[in-house]
Symmetry: C2
Subunit: 447 residues, 2 copies
């Protein structure tokens, strides 16, 4: 059974304001789904793997902030390996490989395929992946790359050089060069080099042996995870791909787009708009995604992209949409919307009083059967006004039923928890001197 | 003493989303003020009248929805005449004239100047107004127009034809034609016609006599107001200006712009942006007004206007910014922000429950010393969470002090009122079957 490791990294700064630390670009639900409705990049790639009939298990390598999004989009049945801290692809892949070896009963002989989840591809891509896995299985080489036929000079990719076929559609790799200058890339392309797609295949033991020789023993997963920061913070390309002695490549020249900017994302959106949008008659090739409830009216725009959500509003020519990345640090304050395992919250309002007191008002939605943890706060009181649904409230170890119209005033240090019986919506007003998500003491309790 | 009647009409649909029924375009505080800060069109025109040293009293003719905005922007010292219902300029001017005659002790000999408050003009405009008033005073003609030298063929204006000077800079009017076709307007301009500015001067008796002859007696203001709907719903231009037998015109060719579209408003804004806005490096001649708290990022735009507020978001080429007018009825649901005499409110959130129950969450701000009326609701309960300031709450005829952290749960039919001692902010959650501003029973009480 092939082990597929999906890399769910990336902060998605280029897709501000709709992506943020927790909701990376691969979670944005803007693609059309063959069964109707919309799906995210992550959901799409997993659907495509299943449709390819590759015999495989899937592991998603992600960071802690993404955990709730992953469970929401993929359900509980998927194997998720969470990095203890955000690091580059090499340590992330090592951690997933260790999980396969130490927790999932895989052997060093098992074939592993690593793939990023952000390229937008067609079925041929997964055929190439099956060929890569087959080539590792047949011992054609230690490390298999997928090479993309370049369409333009670019300094954004590593380049792979080959010199002949080792087996059917598997080329011998002579050299791998990380991102060159655009000028150099022209030369590389003239010599027939391929772009590195970031898809790799190898036997589990290949990586485990390198880690053991160079860094740490891989015999205890918890220990490896606790020593995660000792692994070099480096990309898999630099640490492994550039140094491979025995490498081969399967070329792929079908659809392959990095859906990392609004420009490219809009090009694969099935509709011009999502959300409450009204066009005048003089707009051309303009895409609008509106996650706010208020309307957007747009006229006289050509080749533009507009994206509006609780975190902010982007208005850009498609050609300049990636410049937002350089400004995101100034734009981002705190997330104004998050999807959690239990449901969602949206920040509605913030005030600052003359006396150093602040308020933060949220709309919270709990999915039926889900709960927010039993907890207390040191620095704030909270007022919950229930506006829809039925739930079980626990307040200082006493339980009661709450429904629309009920108001609960939770004082500082007062223990409180809530579980939804039916879909449950309430308005929370926090009042205190220091209103941060971190002011939370989680307490043990079983619902 | 000249009596100036300022017409504060207009719904300002072309300036959606920042203007609405209550906050018409003349209230938008986007112009620079010589003393620093920003002022509205209305504040600007009143400042300019005062600077012109015209000896005059000012009356503002407005509709009921605008009353609180007027008091906020102008204070209590200004004479305001409120129409009982929204009608055209002729009935509105008649009502103000009747107020001057019957309530303010003016005589039929008093000179009246009527002017709209939306043109953006320079000091010369007010010199022309003084000449108009002087010409009426000197009995040069019954009705004085201000004529604007046309700058382009246009079907948006009435045209005034003249044939010679009656006195210094006062021309004899031979003909007045309401809005022609653009083709006709070319001919009119070739013949030396002027645009009608909408500024008129006449003696109070001139209008009163016409009304008495044709429509109703003007001897009791309350009665006239109650019979307001009997006056024809027609513009002053059609009813009076087109039919005047003795008319003259003072020409004006200084700055004169109808600030009725985002395109023109942006051209007189002192800065490119208002509010939380970040530009990339590739924007040209793009203006952004952001009344939301979240940031707008903009790049790659040329000659564009972006306006964002609680009611919605407009993104348009400047040239097409007035097309929004045709779409406003689809875009407007309920006002999401209003300035009232007592302060402001902003709608933060709305939910609809499965059981026909709805919720509406607001942030309300009361100015110190101001109160919201003692009232009750038939169809909703309200939860007030105080987040800043100190106030006096009256609940079922009992009074108490409220401050940050206090929570008040007001049941259906429960009498409640609130007065701010210091600037007071609270979050209101309404829950009920029918959440409309109209569900309010106002009760007598003195604070």
């Amino acid at each position: 059974m092939v082990q597929v490791i999906l890399l769910s990294g990336g902060s998605g700064k280029r897709l501000w304001p709709l992506s943020n630390g927790a909701r990376s670009k691969q979670f944005l639900p803007f693609l059309s789904c063959p069964t109707g409705g919309r799906e995210s990049m992550l959901q799409r790639v997993i659907r495509q793997i299943k449709e390819s009939d590759m015999k495989c298990d899937i592991t998603v390598a992600a960071n802690d902030q993404q955990r709730d999004m992953l469970i929401n989009q993929l359900g509980d049945g998927i194997n998720v390996v969470l990095e203890p801290s955000r690091r580059h692809t090499f340590p992330a892949i090592v951690l997933s490989c260790a999980d396969l070896l130490l927790n999932k009963g895989c052997s060093k002989d098992n074939v592993v395929v690593v793939l990023p989840c952000d390229p937008y591809t067609d079925a041929g891509y997964f055929e190439a992946i099956k060929q890569m896995a087959q080539a590792v299985e047949s011992n054609v080489a230690d490390l298999l790359y997928m090479g993309i036929k370049p369409t333009e000079p670019s300094d954004k990719f590593g380049y792979i050089f080959t010199d002949g076929e080792l087996s059917d559609n598997v080329l011998n790799v002579t050299n791998f060069t990380e991102k060159p200058s655009v000028k150099e890339s022209v030369e590389f392309i003239a010599k027939g080099a391929y772009w590195n797609s970031g898809v790799f295949a190898f036997r589990l033991g290949y990586i485990i042996d390198i880690v053991e020789q160079k860094y740490v023993h891989v015999n205890n997963f918890a220990e490896l995870r606790s020593r995660y920061s000792e692994l070099p913070n480096i990309s898999f390309d630099y640490e492994i791909a550039e140094r491979a002695q025995s490498a081969a490549m399967v070329p792929f020249d079908g659809q392959w787009q990095d859906v990392g900017t609004w420009n490219i994302l809009s090009s694969i959106m099935p509709d011009r708009t999502i959300g409450n949008v009204h066009f005048g008659s003089q707009c051309r090739n303009t895409h609008i995604i509106n996650e706010l409830s208020v309307p957007i009216y747009c006229d006289g725009m050509t080749d533009a992209i507009i994206a509006a959500g609780p975190d902010g509003i982007l208005v850009s020519a498609k050609a300049t949409s990636d410049t937002v990345k350089q400004h995101v640090d100034q734009l981002v304050d705190r997330p104004m919307y998050e999807e959690r395992r239990w449901g969602t919250y949206r920040v509605l309002d913030r005030t600052s009083g003359a006396d150093g007191m602040h308020s933060l008002t949220k709309n919270l939605f709990l999915k039926p059967g889900h709960n927010i943890s039993y907890q207390l706060h040191h620095h704030r009181q909270e007022v919950w006004t229930f506006v829809d649904g039925i739930g079980r409230l626990r307040l200082d170890d006493e339980e009661r039923i709450v429904r629309a119209g009920d108001v609960i005033h939770i004082q500082r240090e007062q223990k409180h928890g809530l579980k939804a019986i039916t879909p449950l919506t309430f308005i929370e007003v926090q009042i205190g001197t220091d209103l941060v998500e971190e002011d939370i003491v989680r307490l043990e309790m079983n619902w």
